[in-house]
């Protein structure tokens, strides 16, 4: 039995446990829908429910057939390839543009700072469906609808705000006198930027890039509007999968996505710790 301070009343103790139970319930509420699909993706039957064999932990009831199906299916293979191509290209563009924007916005001589920041962050706030509709009509004029270029540009625009936010956060800890010191040692402004500024804000740049990648990877609304059959990405393929052929391949893909997201999350956390360590010892 846990020892409570002497002055605790019965209500304090009830509150103590109540808070923990409530927190646990919230966690279950958030995680259960995600966790429940994982075992289902190993179902050997084409159902979305736990079979009796699965509940009895019968090895026969589990299989990798839906994963096999994902790998064998040309449509899924195309979707996976597209998702990575679009995601990586969009993340690279967003990282470069977002980093430059953040550096510019951090300068004390930047005019209209608040207004421009708000403008650049707007893709995070404006409803996606509105962005998608706007882009659709705009891109039609330039024949960008149904092309990879169009989709990549659109996703890059969505990713830029994440990069700006993470890079701005690392820049706020950046000591401007380091830049001045670099100049005084004889290096030109671009060289100092490359040798001193970039290495010190690198954790922010990389985590911004990862966020941008995940944003593109998860995104389905813009894809629905802008992508043709050639540009189908994983979320788009899942979307049609849900309507056309209902079987656990979708669950297999979803499980793969969860694993990938978790891996990225761990990377981000590792980067954050590294940056804390670096700046802490500066």
């Amino acid at each position: 039995m846990k020892r409570f301070p002497e002055y605790y009343t019965i209500w304090n103790i009830a509150g103590h446990y109540g808070l923990r139970i409530f927190a646990l319930l919230v966690l279950i509420f958030l995680m259960l829908p995600i966790l429940v699909i994982m075992p289902l993706s190993f179902n050997s039957e084409p159902f979305f429910t736990f079979t009796e064999g699965m509940l009895a932990l019968d090895a026969e009831a589990y299989s990798l057939r839906w994963y096999q199906e994902v790998v064998d299916d040309d449509k899924w293979r195309l979707a996976i390839r597209n998702s990575f191509v679009v995601g990586i290209a969009a993340a690279l563009i967003a990282t470069v543009l977002g980093t430059l924007a953040a550096v510019g916005l951090a300068s004390p001589w930047m005019p209209y700072k608040r207004f421009i920041t708000a403008l650049l962050l707007s893709p995070m706030i404006v409803p996606l469906i509105i962005i998608a509709a706007g882009m659709f009509f705009f891109y039609t004029r330039f024949n960008l609808v149904g092309t990879f270029a169009g989709l990549i540009i659109a996703h890059a625009a969505l990713g830029v705000p994440f990069v700006i936010i993470t890079v701005t956060a690392t820049l706020s800890g950046f000591d401007r006198s380091l830049f001045v010191a670099g100049l005084s040692l004889g290096a030109g402004p671009f060289k100092v930027f490359w040798d001193v500024v970039i290495p010190l804000i690198r954790p922010g740049v990389i985590s911004g890039g990862l966020f941008a990648f995940v944003t593109s990877f998860d995104e389905v609304v813009l894809v629905l509007f802008l992508a043709g059959p050639e540009q189908r990405t994983i979320p788009r393929q899942m979307f049609s999968g849900l309507r056309e052929q209902i079987n656990p391949t979708i669950l297999a893909v979803a499980t793969l996505l969860v694993v990938l997201s978790a891996a990225l999350l761990f990377t981000l956390e590792a980067l954050r710790r590294r940056s804390v360590r670096l700046s802490g010892s500066a």
């Binding site: 001045v180 010191a181 100049l183 005084s184 040692l185 004889g186 040798d195 700046s279 010892s281």
Partner: protein, 364 residues
């Protein structure tokens, strides 16, 4: 632009600076610096010392006037092309590079051959007594060690001019003294010219070949330490450098460099500075350690009667606080030995001093 004397190492010619295009922060700064000098800019906060340094380094533009090195104006030279070393108060070491990489950076930028860089880094690490610390990050060094790395980094590319803006401000007293010694040693050994900014007068007095006292964007006096202390050219300098007593009075006669001054407590004699006029109000400065309380064997030719206020024991000295008849405070420093007298509260006392130890400045 003006005709610039070509043999002066560094010349400020009527340099002015305004940040807001309205008020001048630096008002007509003139100074000639010889090769190898150690010049200190000393002055109250906000008097424009950092601004002068930043203009010299190229990080602030010059509003008007000229800064010239070896007779050539550098107003239009980019900061990274000026070849001026700089030491910052917060060290400004690159935290992601090792100590050796920090030192190598200015050489790498100048495309020095690799082998030579290695040699020079080792040499300068030795110079600042950090030979075993080359592989460490700045974060793993103590404050004094970081400052020495910053010093070595500012010197390693052999600039002829090194600027230091309160480089020891972040260090504790002991370390500061040690670093003062270190900087003086390196300056003597390597012969570069230093422009140094500090708040600390002891530091300025002990290190500099000349001190420029700043106030309100104007140099009040630029002179070697002893001259600044013994012969301040105006009341601001007399007050700012060291401690001083000011006795108010009126000039009654002026003969060469001697003035007779009428005060509430009697007539006294003092050295006169330019600008003093008969019949005008003046202030006579006397340093606390130049005042004597009788009985004394010291020679004197001035005396004033004062009232005892209090005395404070500060170890090697005893500080006496007296009041003049008009209420002005007078401080006297007496060596702490058996002769240090005791007074009753409000007791009358005499203070004695030499006319040559006091200076009369115009009042106001």
């Amino acid at each position: 632009m003006n005709d610039l004397g070509s043999d002066t190492f560094l010349r400020f010619d009527n340099v002015k600076k305004s940040y807001d295009q309205k008020s001048l922060v630096v008002k007509g700064f003139d100074m000639d610096v010889e090769d190898g000098e150690f010049i200190t800019l000393l002055g109250p906060s906000g008097s424009g010392k950092t601004t002068v340094l930043m203009m010299l380094a190229g990080f602030e533009s010059v509003t008007s006037g000229d800064i010239a090195i070896a007779g050539k104006s550098i107003n239009r030279t980019a900061p990274n092309k000026r070849n001026i070393g700089m030491v910052f108060q917060n060290y400004a070491l690159f935290p992601h590079m090792t100590v050796a990489e920090n030192l190598a950076y200015p050489l790498t930028v100048r495309k020095t051959p690799k082998a030579q860089i290695k040699e020079r880094v080792a040499e300068y690490l030795k110079l600042v007594e950090l030979s075993d610390f080359g592989a460490r990050r700045p974060g793993q060094l103590s404050g004094g060690q970081r400052q020495r790395v910053a010093l070595a980094r500012a010197m390693i590319f052999e600039p002829t001019l090194i600027l230091m803006d309160e480089p020891l401000g972040a260090l504790d007293k002991n370390l500061r003294e040690q670093m003062q010694f270190e900087i003086t040693r390196l300056h003597k050994q390597l012969g570069f010219t230093v422009i140094y900014v500090t708040h600390d007068q002891t530091e300025a007095l002990s290190m500099s070949s000349r001190i420029a006292v700043f106030n309100d964007g104007v140099v009040q006096q630029c002179a070697p330490p002893a001259e600044l202390y013994e012969r301040p050219s105006n009341a601001f300098v007399a007050d700012f450098i060291g401690e001083n007593n000011f006795v108010p009075g009126k000039v009654i006669t002026l003969e060469g460099t001697t003035a007779q001054v009428q005060t509430d407590g009697g007539t006294i004699v003092a050295q006169a500075v330019d600008g003093l006029a008969i019949g005008h109000a003046c202030r006579v400065s006397i340093r606390p350690e130049k005042l004597f309380i009788p009985p004394t064997s010291h020679a004197h030719d001035n005396a004033l009667t004062v009232r005892f206020n209090t005395r404070i024991y500060v170890g090697d000295f005893i500080r006496y606080y007296f009041k003049l008849p008009d209420g002005t405070d007078i401080i006297v420093k007496v060596l702490n030995d058996l002769s240090a007298p005791e007074f009753a509260d409000d007791a009358e006392a005499q203070l004695l001093w030499l006319a040559s130890d006091s200076i009369a400045f115009p009042a106001g």
